[in-house]
């Protein structure tokens, strides 16, 4: 299965990636190969098998509703590329 140029651009948009012309071609090629590899799975008949939500055999892992200490704003913002006061700051977003 070969991905179209539009599909690649759509995926790039969803991932918020700006691709160059060369990259579009490269990824169209690579993504198509990956997809083709996974196509093999489609040969299995899974119509009678319920979808798997989890591969680890665990259920009902919950915690009691108790408050625990949070980080200080300084710790929380330590890795932020941009901040203003104790807010994280990102590029302007159009509503």
């Amino acid at each position: 299965m070969k991905l179209s140029r539009d599909q690649v651009l759509h995926i790039a948009e969803l991932a918020k990636l700006a691709l160059s012309e060369e990259e579009i071609e490269l990824f169209t090629e690579q993504l198509s190969e990956i997809l083709a590899y996974f196509e093999k799975l489609n040969r299995l008949d899974t119509s009678a098998i319920p979808p798997t939500a989890q591969v680890i055999d665990m259920r009902n892992v919950t915690r009691p509703d108790e408050v625990r200490p949070s980080l200080s704003p300084e710790e929380a913002l330590a890795n932020a590329p941009q901040r203003k006061g104790n807010f994280f700051k990102v590029k302007p977003i159009l509503e």
Binding site: Q54, N60, T62, V67, R68, S70, P73, F87
Partner: protein
């Protein structure tokens, strides 16, 4: 041609837990300085693991049960991917195909006719952070990110803005009865989106669906939906097409305005959340939660009517808030059958509600206890004070928390029933108003009310009106006999 509207509602309600959905940060974000209730989990740092808040699961199932839902035996969480930075992970943990509650209903009362509105699902997810948009960038506070949120999705069963409003009001009442959410729309603890479409009456196909957002109050919900129905109907009548868009309610201009086109279908790429093991909901567990269900408003209203013999309209008003219903029942108990439940209901629905409105407060925080209200009503019933003075006394009780007895004594408000004392006031009223007196003697008996009013005014409302009436008759008869 006649048209009908088809309305479905999506309601988000914050769940009243102490901690967040997947970490131990405090969920009380409202008054906290920015980014003080955050940790590596709700900041989406690499390598961390979320853990499900048990109380949030139970609150959601309790809500589902109150909404007559089925609770499946198996439920799981999923990732909803989107690039908006209000969640730092790049996705929201939500539930996609296996929500906690499905296929329920809620009943609304359309002026005597009951109608069931289907509940498609109730699922659990996490709230997002708050963004402040500035010219050179957007500022983010993640205190709200990860607060437990339930989404309640109705079927498209509503046919008017009124029905949508009734649905929402009822839903809020139930959430508050259960204690799972404050349901406060103005504070954003409850948010609502409406899907509105219009089609020719009798048509089986649905019209194009428009999503209406920015509904920040109950009034906004009603007005926005009514406006949107009218807008779409007009388009269809003019032979135009309704476009699939998102509209926002403009509170100031009282109209819905175009927000964005929906031509590009949202691409959330849901997939099972690999960090959270699924939930197996044993029937014993669901049964245990069901046993926690309180008496719900509809059942309570019916019981109030049957048990206390009060009017249906009053019962409906009394059960709107659980605290009001409890207040009423405590008052009935305190009255020990000396005051009728209907009298008590009248005073709560009339006077107490008026005071709550005037002082923008809630019944749970007022100074007048149900026992104190009964003490006041007994003073009125015994004739110590009349009802008009009683209302003034209640105002004073509301403001100071003093007992009715104390206020009556302090202000000398005791009702005057002494005939000798009142006869003087009656005679004075007749002597001072020769014209109405002539009218009365000429056969216009309605003037009696005027004289009663004069006496009441002269005694500052303290006269026993029954005695006044009797004395007036006597004195007027004397005049008649003179003629």
């Amino acid at each position: 041609m006649k048209y009908e509207a088809i309305i479905g509602m999506e309601v988000h309600a914050q769940i009243l837990t102490a901690s967040k959905m997947f970490c131990g940060c405090s969920a009380d974000y409202a008054s906290a300085p920015p980014n003080t209730h955050v940790c590596p989990v709700c900041l989406g740092m690499p390598g961390v693991l979320p853990v499900i808040n048990q109380a949030a699961v139970e609150a959601t199932i309790l809500t589902g049960l109150a909404l007559n839902c089925t609770i499946p035996e198996f439920s799981k969480f999923d990732r909803k991917n989107y690039p908006y930075p209000d969640l730092p992970k790049g996705y929201q943990i939500s539930q996609y195909d296996l929500p906690l509650c499905i296929n329920g209903w809620l009943e609304i009362d359309l002026g005597g006719t009951k109608k069931r509105i289907g509940i498609r699902r109730v699922h659990l997810e996490e709230d997002t952070g708050k963004l402040i948009h500035e010219e050179d960038g957007s500022l983010i506070d993640f205190n709200r990110a990860g607060v437990p949120l339930m989404e309640i999705v109705s079927e498209a069963d509503m046919r008017s803005a009124e029905e949508a409003w009734l649905y929402l009001t009822k839903l809020r009442t139930i959430l508050r009865y259960l204690g799972v959410s404050t349901g406060n729309m103005e504070e954003g603890a409850m948010r609502c989106e409406a899907n509105v479409s219009v089609r020719p009456l009798g048509s089986k196909e649905f019209g194009t669906k428009v999503e209406v957002k920015n509904l920040n109050s109950f009034r906004a919900v009603r007005q926005a939906i009514a406006y949107e129905i009218e807008r779409q109907t007009k388009l269809l009548q003019e032979g135009k097409r309704v476009h699939q868009v998102t509209m926002g309610w403009d509170e100031h201009r009282h109209r819905t305005v175009f927000q964005r086109s929906k031509e590009f279908a949202e691409d959330y790429r849901y997939f099972p959340e690999p960090d959270l093991p699924p939930l197996e909901l044993s029937r014993e567990f669901v049964q245990e939660i069901r046993s926690r269900l309180p008496e719900l408003p509809d059942a309570k209203r019916e019981r109030f009517i049957a048990q206390y013999g009060i009017k249906g309209d009053d019962a409906a008003l009394l059960v709107e808030e659980r605290a009001t219903a409890d207040y009423f029942e405590r008052a009935v108990a305190a009255a020990q059958k000396q005051i009728t439940p209907q009298t008590i209901a009248n005073w709560i629905v009339g006077e107490i509600f008026r005071l709550l409105r005037e002082n923008t407060t809630e019944i749970s925080s007022i100074k007048v206890s149900p026992e104190q209200l009964i003490e006041l009503l007994k003073l009125i019933q015994e004739g110590t004070i009349n009802a008009t003075v009683g209302k003034e006394v209640l105002d004073e009780m509301f403001a100071t928390g003093k007992s009715a007895q104390a206020i009556v004594k302090e202000k000398g408000l005791t009702q005057i029933s002494d005939e000798e004392q009142l006869r003087q006031f009656v005679q004075e009223a007749l002597a001072k108003n020769p014209k109405p007196l002539q009218q009365y003697l000429a056969g216009k008996e309605a003037v009696l009310g005027f004289f009663i009013g004069q006496v009441m005014r002269a005694t500052r409302g303290q006269a026993n009106v029954h005695v006044v009436r009797k004395l007036l008759q006597e004195e007027l008869d004397k005049y008649k006999n003179k003629e």
